[in-house]
């Protein structure tokens, strides 16, 4: 098994996630794209853990999974709050803080 396989898969998933974050307007869809990005990073961590033969990368991947779960919880709470106040979750309507 070549190291390039895993790393290229991670790079492709990361790029797709970045495209989703840029292109999507719906806040829930942006959160899904962020999950894609975090999973790409986790894939790289696991690949390097296998490549170097120690488990530090796996421990880091577990921590990233935990932080991602917390991030989704808080993010969806904020999305619900925005929806309740404005009846819409379009991100381009949230421009009050633009200078």
């Amino acid at each position: 098994m070549l190291a390039v396989n895993f790393l290229l898969l991670g790079a492709v998933l990361f790029s797709i996630g970045v495209f989703g974050v840029i292109a999507r307007r719906n806040a829930v869809m942006v959160l899904m794209s962020v999950e894609l990005i975090l999973n790409a990073v986790n894939l790289n961590l696991i690949a390097f853990a296998l490549l170097h033969g120690n488990v530090d990368g796996q421990v880091f991947a577990l921590y990233v999974i935990a932080v991602a779960a917390a991030e989704v919880g808080v993010g969806l709470g904020m999305v619900l709050l925005v929806y309740r106040n404005r009846r819409s979750i379009s991100l381009d309507e949230l421009s009050e803080m633009k200078g």
């Binding site: 070549l2 396989n5 970045v18 495209f19 794209s33 986790n42 921590y63 935990a66 709470g77």
Partner: protein, 171 residues
């Protein structure tokens, strides 16, 4: 370069290729579909594929955690978020920004740059043939050298739980 090497485990590579193709296709569907619920279901496929790749990379404990946390909990949370913030189920207009096409060159350039660097550095590095990782090794790492980040993670989870309750509760 990508698939050609001697002394390689053919079955492992074939499995990797099939799962990787499925994952990339599903990820493209996640960012292009017009239906939010379908996007969530495609995301399930991507996350399950990531778990399968972890098994192929001899990281069973992380794979099980991935299934438990992502496929089990995070997806339910996403579906709840979709149901609570949208009236209609089905195709929806205005899911994309007006300038969404700008994302294509950005993503292509980013992917090209990352792929160039990766291929340049790891052109024919082969993975060592590793057996399953004993969970004891992960536990030894979490509870000795990475204990402080572990405690920090538990505080983050506590703060996130309390914070989302405070944010989402109706007064």
């Amino acid at each position: 370069m990508i698939v050609a090497a001697d002394n390689i485990n053919v079955a492992q590579n074939v499995a990797f290729g099939i799962i990787a193709f499925l994952m990339v296709f599903s990820a493209l569907c996640v960012v292009t579909t017009k239906n939010v619920v379908h996007a969530a279901l495609w995301l399930v496929l991507v996350l399950a594929g990531v778990a399968a790749q972890y098994v192929l990379a001899a990281a069973e404990f992380v794979a099980v955690s991935q299934v438990l946390v992502y496929v089990g909990a995070v997806m339910v949370l996403f579906l709840f978020g979709i149901m609570l913030t949208r009236a209609q189920i089905g195709k929806e207009r205005g899911l994309n920004n007006k300038s969404w096409a700008l994302g294509i060159p950005v993503a292509l350039m980013l992917g090209g740059l990352l792929s160039y660097v990766i291929i340049d550095e790891f052109d024919d590095t082969t993975m060592p043939d590793a057996g399953p990782t004993p969970t004891e090794a992960i536990a030894d790492n979490v509870l000795a050298p990475y204990l402080v980040p572990f405690l920090a993670i538990s505080f983050i989870l506590l703060a996130a739980a309390i914070g989302s309750i405070v944010l989402a509760r109706k007064d």
